[in-house]
């Protein structure tokens, strides 16, 4: 579909096991168990929802719909569990180190965003991620790390009038 991104197909192809249009591939036991566990926890959470007065609830308390949806998700999770066969060991070319470091860089970026402001955050991210992904040309990296964050800041500040917290942007905004 138009909405798909390239990664979807790749991820689907990454999965081992038989190819079936209807049933999940093998090796999904863990996924199914996680889904069922999350459903169980969320179902327990729905039991803590307040009851609405009958005149407002009109026969359907606020917990009912989420419980129905959780039931459906659990049912689909069970299908995955029942259909999943033994995990097939397949060599994957995933560079986990880069993935984890990228994820940590993203998390770090959001953590410091509020404290040091958008420009410094994006500068650090723009410096770090290209190097992490194997870029060795320091000059272009430095120029990129300075210019791109300023460009984004200017765009959002100038066009959308968004106020960003932080020392540098306060200085630039006057």
């Amino acid at each position: 579909m138009a909405g798909d991104s390239a990664g979807d197909d790749r991820a689907a192809a990454d999965e081992g096991g038989r190819v079936s249009p209807f049933f999940p591939p093998r090796g999904d036991v863990g996924v199914a168990l996680v889904i069922l566990a999350v459903c169980a926890v969320l179902y327990a959470v729905t039991l803590t929802f307040n009851d609405a007065p009958p005149s407002l609830a009109r026969g359907m308390q606020p917990r009912v719909f989420p419980q129905l949806v959780l039931g459906l998700i659990a049912f689909l999770g069970l299908i995955i569990l029942v259909q999943a066969g033994p995990v097939e060991r397949r060599a994957r070319s995933t560079d986990w180190r880069t993935v984890i470091l990228t994820a940590l860089a993203c998390i770090g970026c959001v953590v410091i965003f509020e404290h040091v402001g958008v420009i410094i955050t994006l500068f650090l991210f723009g410096l770090l991620l290209p190097l992490l992904w194997g870029e060795r040309r320091l000059g272009p990296v430095a120029i990129y790390a300075v210019v791109f964050p300023l460009l984004i800041w200017g765009l959002f500040r100038g066009i959308l009038g968004v106020h960003f917290p932080g020392p540098i942007q306060n200085l630039l905004s006057g």
Partner: protein, 505 residues
């Protein structure tokens, strides 16, 4: 069709500033479509925060133009470097790249641009006729029909190209569950807020979309090995010759119909349309043996079909408020963010918006034809942007775009969390688009179910008294079980045929 409305829409669409914005969106769309990994869905999600500062008409016109151009843009890299910029262009690479290797890249690029524009224009014309007609029909819908329609829309997720039926449905259901976060509208009871007051108004669609489409793809890209792609000589696109056009005319016409029809089906879209368009082009071709080795029909078929799906996908989005694809789900979210209520009322309350959108999409299709011919060479060069700079830029835009929505750090965290969730979903073979479609339809599903149950005095048997709702439920069963049942029947027939042969042998 309202001729007066169309004329007024043309007047609005001809505004030089709007034309300039649509042109900018077309250039950005072709570029984004051409860059491998960046899809038009992701681009519309990233652009959405910018459009909030625009008038609703301009905002939706810009996003729709980006959608049309982005779908075409994928063909450039599919032909030149055998790497489709977006999944709908995957089948274009089957014959586009072999043509490029034979020194016919210009001919392939030209046919891709022309077929895409014809497909896009055809589907917009269908949209102009079909969307108001569907909206008139939708006026007869009550809550039971809307509930059945939304369930049908969700069931159509089963057929989304990537992943499998169960996982796609599970993603859609997860989206519906996420839509329940916050205050329940009729009772005011808090659900799944976990004590965070920021969640009482529910989870904003836009950071979820940015996270799930853009950030998850960034993490996915981190795992992609550094490939050295073989490039062919980049040449300018050239107009198809009369011979090529004659040869492909029937294929283009067929693909226009296929693409528009597939696009209109809720949750289906360009990728499926292009696959069917390619297969049908091969089936009806006088030279099927050329397919896969550089057949010009192998480019015309999928390109006309995937662009025809864009206008088709806008029909249920505008007329019913049911997204026709992942990108139209983002456009639907943009409409809601602009305070516009999608659905039949849109046609009476804001006809200007609709007719300007129709014209803007038509103009966008003509613009990308021109841009495609004039700038294919340039776009091909721009796709050389190293991924080490491209993907950090995507994340920076994601962070700032999410924050800018409500100047709230909570939205940035939501974007990041859904990015991580989206990454793990993709790793385990789930398609992420169903989550967004479920999230958008979730409110409609719950509200219409609640209202239906009140109407039927809490008895589900009441649905049996509504023929239209029953029709949608029947279609739901077909969309869920049609494919496996058909396969089982075909298998059984083959076995039955093979049986006597084996016995005779």
């Amino acid at each position: 069709m309202n001729i007066e409305g169309l004329a007024h829409g043309l007047e609005l669409a001809a505004d030089p500033l709007l034309l300039l914005m649509v042109f900018g969106a077309v250039v950005a769309g072709v570029l984004v479509g051409a860059l491998p990994g960046l899809s038009s869905t992701m681009a519309t999600a990233l652009l959405l925060p910018f459009t909030l500062a625009m008038e609703p008409v301009a905002a939706i016109a810009v996003l729709a133009a980006l959608y049309c151009a982005g779908t075409y843009g994928g063909s450039i890299t599919a032909i030149l470097i055998n790497t489709p910029g977006a999944p709908p262009a995957a089948t274009t690479a089957f014959d586009g790249y072999p043509m490029a290797l034979k020194g016919e890249a210009g001919r392939a690029l030209g046919m891709a641009a022309v077929a895409s524009a014809i497909g896009g224009i055809f589907s917009v014309i269908v949209m102009i006729v079909a969307a108001p007609a569907l909206a008139r029909l939708a006026y007869q819908f009550g809550p039971p029909e809307y509930f059945a329609l939304a369930v049908f829309g969700l069931s159509m997720l089963a057929g989304i190209s990537a992943g499998n039926t169960v996982k796609n449905l599970l993603g859609g259901a997860a989206g519906v569950l996420i839509a329940t976060v916050g205050l329940e509208i009729t009772t005011g009871v808090e659900r799944f807020t976990f004590g965070f007051w920021e969640l009482t108004e529910g989870i904003n669609f836009i950071p979820v979309m940015i996270g799930i489409f853009a950030v998850s793809e960034l993490l996915q890209q981190a795992t992609v090995p550094k490939l050295v792609r073989k490039r062919v000589a980049v040449v300018a696109a050239r107009l198809p010759s009369l011979d090529d056009f004659k040869r492909c005319a029937a294929t283009i016409a067929r693909s226009c119909g296929i693409g528009t029809f597939i696009g209109i089906l809720p949750a289906e879209g360009g990728t499926i349309a292009s696959i069917i368009g390619y297969n049908e082009a091969k089936r009806f071709s006088k030279h099927p043996e050329e397919f896969g080795h550089g057949s010009i029909e192998g480019i015309a078929g999928p390109e006309a079909a995937n662009n025809a799906a864009t206008g088709g996908a806008m029909v249920p989005t505008l007329a019913l408020g049911i997204p026709g694809s992942g990108t139209t789900a983002v456009i639907l979210a943009a409409l809601i963010a602009q305070g516009v209520r999608p659905g039949p009322a849109l046609f009476t309350e804001q006809p200007d918006l609709l007719y300007t959108l129709f014209w803007s999409m038509l103009i966008a299709n003509l613009m990308f034809l021109a841009v495609g011919f004039a700038g294919a060479k340039l776009f091909a060069r721009i796709t050389m942007i190293p991924r080490t700079f491209l993907w950090p830029s995507v994340f920076m835009l994601s962070v700032v775009g999410s924050y800018a929505l409500a100047t709230s750090i909570v939205d940035v965290w939501i974007m990041l969390i859904f990015g991580l969730i989206g990454y793990f979903m993709r790793r385990h073979g789930f398609s992420v688009a169903p989550v967004i479609i479920g999230l958008i339809l979730g409110g409609l599903v719950e509200t219409s179910l609640r209202q239906s149950m009140i109407m039927f005095d809490q008895s589900v048997l009441g649905f049996f008294s509504r023929p239209l709702a029953l029709t949608f439920f029947a279609l739901t069963l077909v969309s869920l079980f049609g494919r496996p049942v058909r396969k089982a029947i075909v298998r059984r027939l083959r076995e039955r045929r093979a049986g006597p042969r084996e016995a005779a042998g």
